[in-house]
């Protein structure tokens, strides 16, 4: 189960698009997963042949769980079961479906089984791939990389995977006895601080928590970012609209609370003269058919993507207490949902796309976000987010950064304003551009340069 955004702890496999024996290519959509916020089409990172579907439809599992195994093209088919020595991968992958654990409801994840999967969400038989930065983070957070399931390309263990593993609750080990007791006493193991080896939750931990009462001191001692109370977690199938709204509020609330708790935000604002951009846009649209016209947010997204190339401190992720810039600009677009809630999937590599391509992708993304079907890569890797509340007539928006990103750019309404220049007062179409940025990654001076760069780029719309 890939991590589809920092606010996701678990997901429900609602549909498999492939069956064992099917050939798949990297990027193919292999499954549909329901999260609190959306329905997401999961793309596969590897080409090969589907060997085994591990998690059946309707089952909710934590991030990192092996969903299926895929055989790489160059690896010959495994001999029939029973004759072959079973590899660690296969045992780990097979455990959830073969181990009789009827007492554990699907909403109470079997974290041990999830943690032992050495490979990706869709496991392959490739060696563990880890970047030096991620390795460093793992060492810092005390995470054993061999126990982390990679969700990146090629089974790569990503920063998010390590953070998930380090996070209390999401990947904490627990003994079988602890799980049994947890169920008996109604104690959520993911809320406990383990005292066993490697922080594992032991039976005694559970007993202590049970005697302290639900939500007692033990459970409170360690704040977690788990978001969905069991009551709203769907056991199987699609959640009702109401359940989903409630779950989404929880997910957004938890992520934003984490942002406000962890990120030392600073805020800047600048007013940008949009006369040139608006005039250029009108002219450009005269030449375009109805179906190919651009909207102002396209220019804004492109300007932000180009500006981060000049001020890279705004683009990337916090890894532990260290900022890791991203070379690509995957711009998250905050899309409000009419049923309530907001989601910010990415348009990839905006800086390298022409405006028409950005427009096409933006339209497609908004429609799919509202229709509730997004792709896994769009959810997992925005490097900066843009929010545009101008359509609702809002003058400006000071946003909350999506962790682990380090900046959020807000655009307000494009409207006529008095504009003094060269000793004269005129009327210009203007927009208020705001920056919420992470002080751990940059300072106000660099933030100011970033906003000035966006301004400069928007004055030359023909070069965007």
């Amino acid at each position: 189960m890939p991590s589809l955004g920092a606010d996701m702890d678990a997901g429900t496999v609602s549909k498999w698009m492939v069956a064992p024996g099917d050939a798949v290519r990297r990027g193919d959509i292999v499954a549909v997963v329901e999260t609190e916020k959306s329905t997401i089409e999961v793309e596969i990172f590897e080409s090969g042949t589907i060997e085994d579907i591990v998690v059946p439809e309707g089952e909710r599992v934590p991030v990192g769980t092996v969903l299926a195994t895929v055989r790489a093209p160059q690896v010959p088919p495994a001999p029939p079961a029973g004759e072959r020595p079973r590899s660690r991968t296969q045992r780990a992958a097979g455990a959830p479906s073969t181990a009789p654990e009827p007492a554990v409801p699907s909403s109470a994840p079997d974290v041990t089984a999830a943690a032992t999967g050495p490979d990706g969400a869709v496991a392959s038989r490739r060696p563990l791939v880890v970047s030096p930065v991620v390795r460093h983070l793992a060492a810092e957070l005390g995470v054993d990389l061999d126990t982390v399931a990679g969700t990146g390309g090629g089974g790569l263990v990503t920063r998010a995977d390590v953070e998930h593993a380090a996070r209390p609750g999401s990947r904490r080990r627990s003994s079988p006895r602890a799980r049994r007791l947890g169920e008996e006493f109604g104690v959520d193991l993911t809320s406990l601080v383990g005292t066993g080896p490697g922080g594992a939750v032991t039976g005694d931990d559970v007993r202590r928590a049970a005697s302290a009462g639900a939500g007692g001191a033990a459970a409170r001692a360690h704040p977690t970012t788990r978001t969905v109370p069991a009551a709203t977690a769907p056991e199987s199938g699609a959640p009702s609209t109401e359940e989903r709204q409630l779950a989404m509020r929880h997910a957004i609330g938890a992520l934003m609370a984490r942002s406000k708790r962890e990120i030392p935000h600073y805020y800047l604002r600048t007013v940008v003269d949009m006369s040139r951009a608006a005039a250029w846009l009108e002219q450009a649209n005269l030449e375009r058919p109805v179906t190919g016209r651009l909207v102002m947010p396209v220019l804004m997204l492109k300007a932000v993507a180009l500006a981060v190339a000049e001020v890279p401190e705004m683009n990337g992720f916090m890894v532990g207490d260290r900022f890791e810039p991203s070379t690509a600009a995957h711009v998250g677009v905050a899309v409000s949902l009419r049923t309530g809630g907001v989601i910010a999937p990415a348009i990839h590599d905006v800086g390298t796309l022409g405006l028409d391509d950005v427009m096409t992708r933006l339209r497609d993304l908004v429609v799919r976000a509202r229709g509730g079907v997004l792709r896994s890569s769009e959810m997992s890797d925005p490097t900066i987010t843009v929010t545009n509340l101008g359509d609702l007539g809002v003058d400006e928006v000071f946003g909350v950064i999506y962790p682990p990103q380090v900046a959020l750019v807000g655009f307000g309404r494009v409207a006529e304003r008095p504009w003094a220049t060269g000793g004269l007062l005129g009327v210009r179409r203007c927009v208020s551009v705001t920056l919420s940025a992470d002080h751990r990654a940059s300072d106000g001076h660099r933030g100011g340069i970033f906003l000035a760069t966006i301004d400069r780029l928007l004055q030359r719309p023909e070069e965007l």
Binding site: L286, V290, T291, R293, V295, M296, R338, R363, D391
Partner: protein, 84 residues
């Protein structure tokens, strides 16, 4: 195109763009953007859908005329030749 046909077309298109929204709740002179909470992308999709169903070019300068239900009906009635 008759006013009734135009109304049906607009309501059908809006329903596709904003399935959750209730077009009947929007007054004839209230803007669709406000009444249905449409953003610029939604509005563009609305215009594109009308173009695809009617063949009208709908230049950008005409967008304000489409911003209310009543305005949209009048625009389509004036712009689309009667069938047959």
């Amino acid at each position: 195109m008759s006013p009734d046909e135009a109304r049906q077309l607009i309501e059908a298109v809006l329903h596709e763009i904003a399935p959750e929204a209730d077009v009947a709740e929007v007054g004839p002179d209230e803007t669709l953007q406000e009444g249905l909470d449409l953003d610029s992308i939604d509005f563009l999709n609305f215009v594109v859908a009308l173009h695809e169903r009617t063949g009208l070019e709908i230049p950008e300068r005409d967008y304000p005329r489409l911003s209310t239900l009543q305005g949209g009906i009048e625009y389509l009635v004036a712009g689309v030749p009667a069938a047959g």
